[in-house]
Symmetry: C2
Subunit: 344 residues, 2 copies
DNA sequence: CGAACGCGTGTGACCGTACACATTTCTGCC
DNA sequence: GGCAGAAATGTGTACGGTCACACGCGTTCG
């Protein structure tokens, strides 16, 4: 009943109030305050209210570092990412951040600068030094798996946007299926000479899309040709297009992502070819801009939000000790627009 | 000289090695280990080596939480962001992350879900509860400033991509200048009836670009007309275009960003109009894809990387107690491509 | 009617590190 | 060789929480 202000009245520094300050103001022990903070069941409503009032009065915030120290739980999830500026990863990360925050976790995001083993290991090492409780890898390079195995991670982790690959830690969009859908679409339209511009060789997704492409072609008994290995950028698509279109020995292209497809269409225009009149094009990802390309791009949509959401769900489940994980791949969806047409 | 393994040999949990374990293995006191970690100058090279060996042997990692607790420095910089999936913010954040990590800081990124005051405050509140040492705001909504002022932030902060606005905490690209350059370019090409499609009203950047546009027009004694307020998306640009092009009472458009410009060009095509033949278009941002639009887009380039880099530089300086800050705005650059031409 | 129990609350110890200060060891010099 | 002073290293304490356990009290039950 004596609401004395627990001000320490020190000279210089204004120390942030701690749990004992709150206790003093509320007239209880610090342990009771702690119980309120961790909403323990057995507290008298009246006491609860007094503590809450004291917290509000002092503007008290629990010190996360102290908490982390004593519980040895950082409440941090690490994200190892490559290409965070790209639409796909960025979208997934956004979903992850939201879901994580709602669950009381914060994110520690690290970008790897190159796909070299050293860079990947440095990134993982950095995250482990943050003592993250779990790890999400959105850097679908092949070498990531080596690095993960080598470092003997002790925390649950999940890799995104990769293929199955036999590891039990992957949460994946069925890229092979997506690529097959895209390729089948072109075949169904009567195309028999189909090119593929792929992503970088060390990207698992690129590999998967290429596999899907090749398998679909071979199932249809069509001639396969060596895919071009690109770097995901529109510029690459453009220059590759200029080169390829000098010999026009194909009537359709399945491009590994929408950006490269955009560049390729640019090259078609410059080469005086019409899309889809002369060349049909399918992309991958369905970035929001794809619907407004010239012409609007037929592409394979991935649900990046769903992926991110499920990643957190999976990890939180594992952190709670649940073992069953839903491993069904997320299904991509072919979006047919105007960049593909029946072969004339 | 007695390299006894400092294994606690406990039954269940394998406790991570701490500074005392290292000390025991190295045969020194824990304080000496601490000195090594904080590279104190006065340590005998031999001792240094012994400690380092012990660290390596045990795979010891300093506990960040304990450090943060005792130093009351979280070594965390908060980022309040909107639209992290967009190219600009994403690029800046990437640069920030890299620079911060190099300086030994980690990032805590929070996305605000809406531009409402409550959402902004919740985001700031969340970041403050992480006890961030500094704050970067990449959510250039007008209300952000209100929220910041209201919450009486005690940490140094900087807002990105906004305009000067009189606050001393802004690091800004001169959006007004960029918009003027874009508009002047159109005027120089002989256009007199120029439209503007702007971003959302509560975005400071949108406002600034609009101001630049209007000022340049009025300086040239040209008729101004009310800008259309968009939402930055390609789809909006498309639908706005379809609407506007029904009355073709303009020959040029300055669009608030590249995505909307893309949508607008789509609308032009559908309306049977040629770009730049019938309509000249200038965008803003210079996203990597802009060079491959149909036609390649004349736009205003912003150096997002530079912005991010300087944000960290500024904050670190302030954290070190330096007061002078380089407040020169980053200058945007007009990139002339093929979406603009002389009025016929 | 006393022991057992549950509820609500308080006490002591500890998490892993950095800082202030104390102490030992080494170095140079008269 | 002894001493000052610097260099190198060690000891106590605090940071702000949580956990295990102890405690007082009222209720229930044998």
């Amino acid at each position: 009943m004596t609401p004395d202000t627990g001000r320490p009245a020190e000279p210089g520094r204004v120390r942030a109030p701690n749990i004992r300050d709150v206790a003093r103001v509320a007239g209880v022990s610090y342990q009771t305050v702690s119980r309120v903070l961790n909403d323990s069941p057995s507290i008298r409503p009246e006491t609860l209210q007094r503590v809450r009032d004291a917290i509000a009065e002092l503007g008290y915030r629990p010190n996360q570092a102290a908490r982390a120290l004593v519980t040895s739980r950082s409440r941090t999830i690490g994200v190892l990412a490559a290409q965070t500026v790209h639409y796909g990863p960025a979208t997934s990360i956004h979903a992850i951040e939201t879901a994580a925050r709602e669950a009381g976790y914060r994110l520690s995001i690290t970008n790897i600068s190159s796909s070299e083993s050293a860079s990947i290991k440095a990134g993982l090492d950095y995250l482990m030094s943050q003592s993250v409780e779990a790890l999400i890898v959105i850097a679908p390079q092949v070498r990531v798996f080596e690095a993960i195995n080598e470092l003997q991670l002790t925390v649950p982790y999940v890799t995104l946007e990769a293929t199955g690959l036999g590891t039990s830690h992957s949460l994946w969009v069925d890229q092979v299926m997506g690529a097959r859908q895209a390729t089948k679409h072109l075949i169904d339209l009567g195309h028999t000479e189909i090119m593929h511009i792929s992503g970088p060789q060390d990207w698992i997704e690129a590999e998967a899309r290429m596999q899907g492409f090749l398998r679909e072609l071979s199932d249809a008994d069509l001639r396969t040709r060596a895919p071009i290995l690109g770097d995901w950028t529109a510029s690459f698509g453009y220059y590759a297009g200029l080169e390829l279109l000098r010999y026009r020995d194909f009537s359709a292209v399945f491009v590994g992502n929408d950006q490269m497809a955009l560049g390729f269409m640019h090259a078609c225009r410059e080469s005086g070819l019409s899309v889809p009149g002369d060349i049909s094009i399918v992309g991958f990802d369905d970035i929001p801009e794809a619907a407004h390309f010239s012409p609007p791009l037929t592409t394979v949509r991935q649900n990046f939000v769903e992926i991110g959401r499920r990643a957190i769900e999976l990890l939180l489940g594992e952190l709670r000790g649940e073992t069953e994980m839903s491993h069904d791949p997320v299904q991509p969806e072919l979006i047919i627009r105007e960049s593909t047409t029946r072969k004339s």
